[in-house]
């Protein structure tokens, strides 16, 4: 009769072992996952640049980088190629960055293990360390979020038509805003 009773500690051990085994087995990726990873590969730097444009703190950049990739993955099954992949990616990346406004004070629990699978490129690789670039970058940080998104698209060499498609702001408004941004940055960097 005793055999019919479940020993609780055995049950816990069973589940713990099961979890360990599950972790050690490499999961087979679906075709969609492989396709997504392949397409994403060439845009990783772009995503990093978007994060760097909106956030200063390395941990915030890391969080945003992670959020953008998760959001892209969640939205990918619905991507039907109506817009170019890069347009779609920029839309989601900027949208996620804009929506990431309220961050609670960082809890210390963020561990290396937690971040293991989504690592960002190191900033040194981007080459923004020169003093002049740094000065301009600091000035860019003082722009509002929409101005920042216009700057990132401008730096990415997007045409005004492409910017309009991504942001939904009319071509004429974008040109006016771009001129204002340039003036603003000129003033900000000259004052330094």
């Amino acid at each position: 009769m005793n055999n019919y009773f479940i020993n609780f500690s055995n049950l816990v051990t069973f589940f713990q072992n099961g979890e360990q085994i599950a972790k050690s087995i490499p999961l087979k990726k679906t075709d969609l996952e492989l396709e997504f990873e392949a397409r994403l590969k060439e845009y990783k730097l772009v995503i990093y640049k978007v994060c760097r444009m909106y956030k200063n703190d390395p941990n915030d950049i890391q969080d945003l980088y992670q959020d953008i990739i998760i959001q892209l993955w969640k939205s990918y099954p619905k991507f039907r190629g109506e817009a170019k992949f890069s347009t779609w990616l920029y839309r989601i990346a900027i949208n996620t960055a804009l929506a990431s406004f309220t961050r609670k004070k960082r809890a210390i629990q963020t561990s290396e293990v937690e971040l293991y699978n989504i690592q960002m490129p190191y900033e040194e690789d981007i080459g923004l360390k020169e003093e002049q670039h740094q000065q301009l970058h600091t000035a860019i940080q003082q722009l509002n979020d929409i101005e920042k998104s216009i700057v990132i698209l401008y730096l990415e060499d997007k045409s005004y038509d492409a910017m309009e498609e991504i942001l939904g702001i009319s071509n004429a408004t974008l040109r006016v805003k771009m001129n204002r941004i340039k003036d603003k940055l000129r003033t900000l960097t000259n004052n330094k």
Partner: protein
């Protein structure tokens, strides 16, 4: 330094993207740190609590026959399922808001519209439910079926104009509570979306 100078160097930048082994399967298991993800987690926790409270009230009502005549128990049994329904729709709304469609501006405009219309629908549905509840109570009082709902006797003893005032007070309170609840959940979010939209003009 001009923006164009930065543009030149910006596009010549490169990085070794193969340095890290990105694993999408693990990535999808991670939680996002966006405000909506935080809100979703909060609502999910609350929605799990409500059935437990409901079951607790049912157990009390079954085990303690005296409690069955207590108006608070009956109110709890009516309000808790309605609250669960409200949280469920909130959860659905948050899931919808997490989706991104179209250009950035269109997406933000759609989200604001969705938030406002959902709140309006929620208010209307609630008012209709309250109105039906009041009509039901008045019908019971008119037909002298006071035994059906505990506390009805007390309500009958209050003169009709004062009862109307009480109902109006409940409507008013409901309006204030609804507004507070909406602001509590989505106020900051909708404000920020509107600010972004203003920046886009």
């Amino acid at each position: 330094m001009e923006l164009d100078t930065l543009k030149n160097s910006w596009n010549t930048l490169s990085v070794d993207v193969n340095r890290d082994q990105f694993d999408i399967i693990s990535a999808t298991k991670k939680e996002m740190k966006s405000p909506l993800a935080g809100l979703k987690k909060k609502v999910q926790k609350q929605i799990k609590m409500l059935p437990i409270l409901f079951a607790f009230l049912v157990v009390i009502a079954v085990k303690m026959p005296d409690a069955q005549h207590h108006i608070l128990i009956w109110m709890g049994l009516v309000i808790l399922p309605l609250t669960t329904l409200y949280y469920y729709f909130n959860l659905k709304l948050i899931t919808d808001l997490e989706e991104m469609n179209g250009s950035v501006k269109d997406d933000i405009q759609n989200k604001i519209k969705k938030l406002i219309s959902t709140n309006r629908i929620y208010l209307i549905v609630n008012r209709v439910v309250f109105a039906l509840l009041i009509i039901g109570i008045e019908e019971l009082i008119r037909n002298n079926r006071l035994d059906l709902v505990p506390g009805l006797e007390t309500l009958k003893n209050i003169v009709f104009p004062l009862r109307v005032l009480i109902y109006a007070g409940i409507f008013g309170l409901h309006y204030v509570v609804s507004k507070y609840t909406f602001t509590y959940y989505f106020g900051k979010y909708i404000r920020q979306l509107k600010n972004i939209l203003t920046e886009m003009q």
